[in-house]
Amino acid sequence: MKDDIKRAYSKVSMSEADKLVVLNNIKTRTKRRNTRYIAWAAAAVVAAAAIVVAFALGGVLPNKSSTIEIATEQQEETVSQTPMCTAKPSPVFAVITLSINPSVEFRIDEEGFVIEVVGTNEDGIALVEGLDAEGLSLENATILVVNRLIENGYITDSSIIREITLTIDSGDFEIDTLNVMSGIIKTAASAYDIEVDVIQADDVNGVNITLAGSDGVQPEPSFSPQPKDSVHASVVKPEETRTILFECEGDKLGNIWMDGDDDHDFVRFIVKDIKEVVMQGMSYLIDTGFIVDPYAADAAILYEVKLSRPTEQGLKETYDVASMIIEESGLMLEIWLHEDEVCIYLSDMAKAPRDAEYTMNEILNTMFLKDRALITEQQMQILEYVYTDEEIEQLLGMPMRFVVLPNVEGLTGEKAVKLLEQAGMTVQIEYFYNPLFEGKTGTVTFQCPQALSMFEIGRECYIEVQIDRPEGHRIADSYVPVNMSIEDYEAYLFENDLIQAHLDLESIGMPPAMMEGEYGPISKAEYDMYNEVLEKIGVELRYLLPWEKDEYFGSDEETGGLGCNGYPEPKPTETIED
């Protein structure tokens, strides 16, 4: 892949002629720097004049209107508005109406930001009550409305067949807008296995969205259960075998680990007796149908189970208990005691087709769902396989619901928090102190207590933000101080020779790990270390302001590995092979 990318990029370059043009432009622009403000002033006058002309033209060109109507039975309710047609422009530039049964209008301004979302019939008014969408992007406003549709049962798996038709006047902008909106509706509907057809008819620039519920077309299950009348219905995939690790201190305390890959997804609980651990785990596997008789008529999937790495004194107990359970269950399974493992296999592996869907790890994780606000799609599939919908709701103590995640990228911390809260999320903010700028920065994490699963629309779920950051600053630049723009920050770094300090550190052989504080907060220990070394060689440590102890979160040791200044440890990522 590396070579492919290199080869592809090697063809990317400016033509020599273009390079020359740009170089000349750069040179001319530099000479003109001093007169630049005059040029800007002139440009501003021209721009103002252009705006006046544009407003005047807007009055005589009805096609400039971006009114988008959705043709349904309720079309008469649709409010068409022709904006910007007088010298006194209306702040509402376009109106988009969404009709399922509740009809809702999105009034947007010229830049595409929402001014307000209002209901245009009784259900619509009830639906958007208390919704504050002002200043949001149309995408996020749609997400909020769609989440409310889900919450209020307008989009569920028992939904009757509905048809939404969106028709628009003209122009690419409007089509794109509708595509974004229909994409969000599609995402939400697919979460409930609702069939969605989007037909875009070119001649009228219309978009048709048809939602067909479970009483319409039966959705395809995401995995294929084996036919019930098959004799060898069970499947097993030994390659996918995961390990349950037992760790004990004597025979008093024990941990059950899901797997041994150190990514902290293990489940830890304390037991009094190793036998109890085995008993508990095995019973769960049998109860939930994951250890089954491979030759039973209703068996669908069988997993190979391996109970491994019990402590020395626990090995025999594990084997004893497991074999006792298997014997009592009457299942046709074999249990073997290897050097340090207790393994359970099918009695006749050769006859079993090998196509299991889930790993032990995933299955066992579902045991502990009550403690989790969110579950993965795969865990959901496992649950659906084992339980009915009602049982799942009972098990989790919450109604089954999906949530479409708003797009927080590019928002300030405050706005992100407000948006997430409006979408029904519980938001936690952790502040930390940035000694370089004496500013408060923070990390926002969120979850939705009412949701089983969140659906992202092409973005990351986990965000780090600067709280109190001035408007217009990107959310991902977590190291930019709260009171500076990115450009100011960069200018600050370079103009104050902070990059010089970096080079000095390098030249005195400071290990790279110690230089990480340069762009962001560092711990007290690091600060002292820098200072000590730099003092010796007479370099002033200018860019680190005096430490304020009260604001300090604590070192790695003090915060129990939370990371310096409250930064959480990075999410487990696979090693990048190269």
Partner: protein
């Protein structure tokens, strides 16, 4: 200070490719961004320790310039996707790289073409190391899917 011409010739290709990546192959925008980047260089009285330092600074500035330009374009709803350079000169791998989300495609370019480490990229883009590792990981995963396993060597 080195003459602007010399610096320009040294780095223009790399900076152009960064901007090209941000603008998903839209040449005119990329050239505008290159121009703004070098103008910013001229406005600094800063002396760089090495060519490498200078390059890193330029990449960081280029990245900020592109992000700001994209933000402005987004607000004035100028579509970008429509104006990708003509497909005859667009390599399939490249077009797939350019389809990746912004941070991912830039990280992929800087890592695989320019050979920067995740930590260096993190400093240039103002991200944490782990974020960049995540981008690279996701980028590889997506590219593996679209380009197939054959391309996924080593």
């Amino acid at each position: 200070m080195d003459s602007i011409e010399k610096i320009y010739k040294q780095h223009v290709d790399a900076i152009y490719r960064v901007c090209f990546t941000y603008f998903k192959g839209h040449k005119m925008d990329a050239q505008d961004a290159v121009q703004s980047t070098f103008i910013k260089l001229l406005s600094k009285t800063k002396h760089f320790e090495s060519t490498e330092h200078e390059r890193a600074w330029l990449i960081r500035v280029a990245s900020n310039v592109c992000i700001n330009m994209l933000k402005r374009k987004h607000k004035t709803d100028e579509p970008l996707n429509e104006t990708i350079s003509t497909s005859d000169e667009m390599d399939y791998t490249l077009s797939e790289v350019l389809k990746l989300p912004e941070n991912i495609r830039v990280s992929v370019y800087l890592h695989y073409y320019e050979g920067y480490s995740a930590s260096e990229i993190g400093k240039m883009l103002g991200k944490s190391d782990s974020a960049v590792w995540g981008y690279l990981h996701r980028g590889r995963k997506i590219l593996k899917q679209v380009l197939g396993d054959d391309c996924y060597e080593r």
